[in-house]
Amino acid sequence: MTLESILFYSLSAVAIASALLLVTRRSPVISALYLIVNFFCLAGLYLTLHAQFIAVIQIIVYAGAIMVLFVFVIMLLNLGDERKLSEAMSYKKIVAVGLAAGLLTEFIYVIETSWIVLPASTINRGMEIGTVEYIGGQLFTSYLFPFEVTSLVLLVAIVGAIVLAKRKF
């Protein structure tokens, strides 16, 4: 076993375990903590795929910004009566798990059988394309317009969040 596969299997085991704990725990705070663990595992997996820039912004944006927002909202709402609402409707949970198992079977079937063999890149550019230099170069040349539209999306999100959270309606 190479170092890469050891890293892959250990990180994916932790990622799956934390995802399962995320959807089964009762308290939102504990779920948020398991989601942070999951984000760090995914950042490690991005590193095994030589995507350094994506791994770093995964930690900064997701584990840093978005999860702080989640924890802040959980603190703000001060939820107490979660215990009785999650116990009810077990038949819905059974249906949900059944549907999810069907979806997983379909995914695995597609990945295993009708796998179209895409040609792997002949030149090994793996180390090169994940760097900040390469991504930044692409972002400010080929993807300049989507990048600018992104700023508009963020502006609209800021205004929308303030309007929604401020007004009493």
Binding site: F8, Y46, H50, L77, L85, M89, V97, F107, A161
Partner: protein, 100 residues
């Protein structure tokens, strides 16, 4: 070298766990976290294909997905706060004012 199928299977498993969370849980905040999990699993697929094909377009798309996810989390949590102010609950079964 880990084959790309392993990465695809892992992201399929994570996506399905997130989908099960969205369907089964009734706490709006945990449903949001499950949606973030699903977005992340798709990001993993994109990065795996990007590394497999030696093409950076997948990583660009991941960058934009993260931006949209940040915007979605901000607006979604603002909606949760507004709903909580009005209904005093985050139970999704009690939030049914659009359902006649």
């Amino acid at each position: 070298m880990v084959p790309i199928q392993s990465y695809l299977a892992l992201s399929a498993i994570l996506f399905v766990i997130g989908a099960a969370g969205v369907l089964a849980r009734r706490n709006a905040i945990i449903v949001f976290m499950s949606i973030e999990l699903m977005l992340n699993s798709v990001n993993l697929t994109l990065v795996a294909f990007s590394a497999h094909l030696g093409n950076a377009t997948g990583q660009m798309l991941v960058f934009f997905v993260m931006t949209v996810a940040a915007a979605e989390a901000a607006v979604g949590l603002a909606i949760v706060i507004a709903l909580f102010r009005r209904k005093k609950t985050v139970n999704l079964d009690e939030i049914n004012i659009l359902k006649w």
